[in-house]
């Protein structure tokens, strides 16, 4: 089976006064359709920069990024925006939703951006929101929804247009533990069901129990990969609370985030 997402030796460097910072340094990885991957690592490990490049929001300094065989690095800005609205689904840490659109309108927005909103699409948006437990909240504005509900609306929006790749940036950052678990579990189920390639950036290792693979980044490089459930459970999730993760060498470390621009 071919990878829905593939990166080859992706590097992102930033020039600073006295040298160069390698935010991402030679990362090669592949994610298949129907696979949900967690990108973890301490602050400054390069996971968000990596996500930005996978999302066609940031150009790598070198290397190739292929989604469904299309090379993102050769596209101009217009083509990248088109690619984002057609092939990629997003959820963000915050400011996920358009505040003046209802839950349903926010989900439909993705179809509208692609000029593909029809009766069927509207029905699918309703079904998806219903599935996410928001059937009664279709007409609510984001300000009338809780953080968890908003995050679930964002998940519906990320999936409604059948993207090849679904990206989630710290989807549970503003949620309490119980809700965070619920949200990520639903997300994982939908990604598996709908056969999408999913990547979640998170610093909360407990959430990795719902993924198929954990990619640990450190200093801009892939540090380790754990790819079976038992091992994830044993080596990652169990030790999430005490930060004592020798096997993965996840050490809480403070490192200044490079200045982007």
């Amino acid at each position: 089976m071919t990878n829905a997402l593939e990166t080859k030796d992706v590097t992102k460097t930033y020039k600073i006064d006295n040298g160069v910072i390698h935010a991402v340094d030679g990362v090669s990885l592949g994610v298949k359709a129907g696979e949900f991957v967690a990108l973890v690592g301490p602050s400054g490990s390069g996971k968000t920069t990596m996500l930005a490049m996978l999302a066609a929001l940031l150009r790598p300094t070198s290397g190739g990024i292929f989604i469904d065989g299309h090379d993102l690095t050769t596209m101009d800005e217009g083509a990248r925006a088109k690619f984002r609205r057609e092939k990629i689904g997003f959820t963000f840490q915050a400011n996920n939703l358009v505040p003046y659109l209802t839950a349903q309108e926010n989900v439909e927005l993705m179809l509208r951006l692609n000029d593909k909103l029809d009766r069927k699409g509207k029905d699918r948006a309703k079904e998806l929101l219903d599935r996410l437990g928001l059937g009664e909240r279709l007409k609510n504005l984001p300000s009338q929804l809780s953080g968890g509900q908003q995050q679930r609306v964002a998940i519906a929006r990320a999936l409604i247009h059948n993207p090849s790749l679904v990206l989630a940036d710290e989807p549970t950052a503003s949620l309490d533990t119980e809700r965070a678990f619920q949200v990520v579990e639903t997300f994982a189920n939908l990604i598996h069901e709908q056969n999408r390639a999913g990547i979640m950036v998170t610093h909360d290792l407990r959430l990795t129990q719902y993924v198929d693979r954990v990619i640990q980044m450190r200093d801009g490089q892939v540090d380790s990969i754990v790819d079976n459930h038992a091992e994830i459970e044993e080596r990652v999730v169990k030790h999430a609370d005490d930060h004592h993760l020798e096997g993965l060498k996840v050490l809480p470390m403070i490192k200044p985030q490079p200045v982007m621009g």
Partner: protein
């Protein structure tokens, strides 16, 4: 897409947007009133001169085109008539008088203008007829005088004038009513020139010869105005001449007054641009994360910018609409004495310039919206 986003946002934030529309409405009210005032005061000053059926006004030499300072006697009329290209000449005499009204009504100050019957300077009457002779005890009142005194054709108007040290009262028959012909910010009463000389305020006894202020000259061919303005002082002793537009622009205070009002109008428009620009820019700053997100999920730049432009334009149009309606409503209830006049031309110019303040003020935020990077959605990027 841009239409969808901007309309949704306008509707769901209608309270906020209505507020800025109301600010624009008040700016509209102010600008339209200033424009109306400029028109009204301007016309109050020069309405008679601007409507006069003549091409050139002839003044006494060195009077600096001031009607009040200029004195011309009858002997000049013949000289002027004999000039090539002159069709007719009409002497004009200006002074002021007071109309005494019955039943304790407040007396009305008017411009008393003496004209020669049948000559340039005489005003066309809308109701009734013009004067019988140069000596007739008759008056033609303008529309403003009629409105403010309720005088009708056939009524007697009593003019009061101080002559020497005496207050003299002259009853004249109103034979006609003209359209608006204000002069020197007063409604006008027209009388035949010899009657004017008799009833006008003066310090001494009646002299033998009537002295006019200026002469209105009608040409055979108005295209020769410029030529005649130069020829007249060369061929007639001790006079100077000006075309009609120069003449009324030289009316004391007219240019200064119009410049002051124009400055006010421009400043109000600039304030409008800044207020609208400020509002949308502040709103834009608040929307940075949201717009970053929209771009990240693939919204086109032109969608985002288009939504901003449409919003600014709609908010401005609604504001200008409300403001114009308010202005018309208020103006309809003004007494005639308030010198506010709305003419299609100047009102249209004011409305068009008001409609431009929104998009102009919004330009900064449109530009800003284009520069927001989608990376903002991930908390990255400048």
């Amino acid at each position: 897409m841009a239409v969808y986003l901007s309309l949704k946002e306008l509707w769901r934030g209608r309270g906020r947007f209505l507020l800025i529309s109301m600010v624009i409405a008040l700016i509209t009210l102010l600008v339209l009133f200033v424009a109306g005032l400029a028109e009204g005061l301007g016309s109050g000053n020069i309405e008679y001169l601007s409507k006069i059926d003549a091409d050139v006004i002839v003044y006494q030499e060195n009077s600096q085109l001031s009607i009040g300072a200029s004195r011309i006697d009858r002997s000049k009329l013949g000289d002027l008539t004999r000039l090539d290209g002159v069709q007719a000449v009409g002497p004009l005499a200006f002074s002021s008088a007071t109309i005494v009204l019955p039943d304790g009504q407040k007396p009305l100050d008017v411009s008393l203008i003496g004209v020669e019957p049948g000559k340039p300077g005489e005003v066309p009457v809308r109701e009734g007829q013009s004067f019988d002779s140069r000596r007739a005890n008759e008056a033609v009142i303008d529309r403003n005088t009629a409105l403010r005194t309720n005088l009708k054709v056939g009524d007697t108007v009593t003019l009061k004038a101080v002559q020497g040290t005496q207050e003299e009262f002259y009853p004249l028959t109103v034979v006609g009513i003209s359209d608006g012909q204000q002069y020197s910010l007063r409604p006008s009463v027209f009388v035949p020139d010899l009657t004017w000389d008799k009833v006008r305020p003066r310090s001494g006894p009646l002299s033998n010869d009537i002295t006019y202020n200026v002469v209105a000259v009608k040409l055979d061919d108005p295209a020769r105005t410029k030529e005649l303005v130069q020829a007249i002082p060369q061929n007639v002793a001790r006079v100077e001449a000006a075309d009609l537009v120069t003449a009324y622009k030289k009316t004391p205070g007219y240019t200064e007054q119009q410049a002051t009002l124009e400055t006010q109008r421009i400043f109000t428009l600039i304030i409008g641009v800044l207020v609208v620009g400020g509002f949308f820019q502040i709103q834009m700053l608040q929307k940075v994360p949201q717009i970053g997100m929209l771009k990240a999920i693939g919204a086109r730049n032109r969608t985002v910018a288009g939504a901003v432009i449409l919003q600014v334009t709609l908010v401005t149009m609604i504001g200008v609409g409300i403001g114009t309606a308010l202005t018309l409503l208020l103006a309809a209830n003004f007494p005639v004495s308030v010198p506010i006049v709305f003419r299609a031309n100047s009102t249209a110019i004011a409305i068009v310039s008001l409609l431009l303040i929104g998009p102009l003020g919004g330009l900064v935020s449109v530009r800003y919206s284009l520069r927001i990077e989608p990376l903002k959605a991930l908390g990255l990027g400048g």
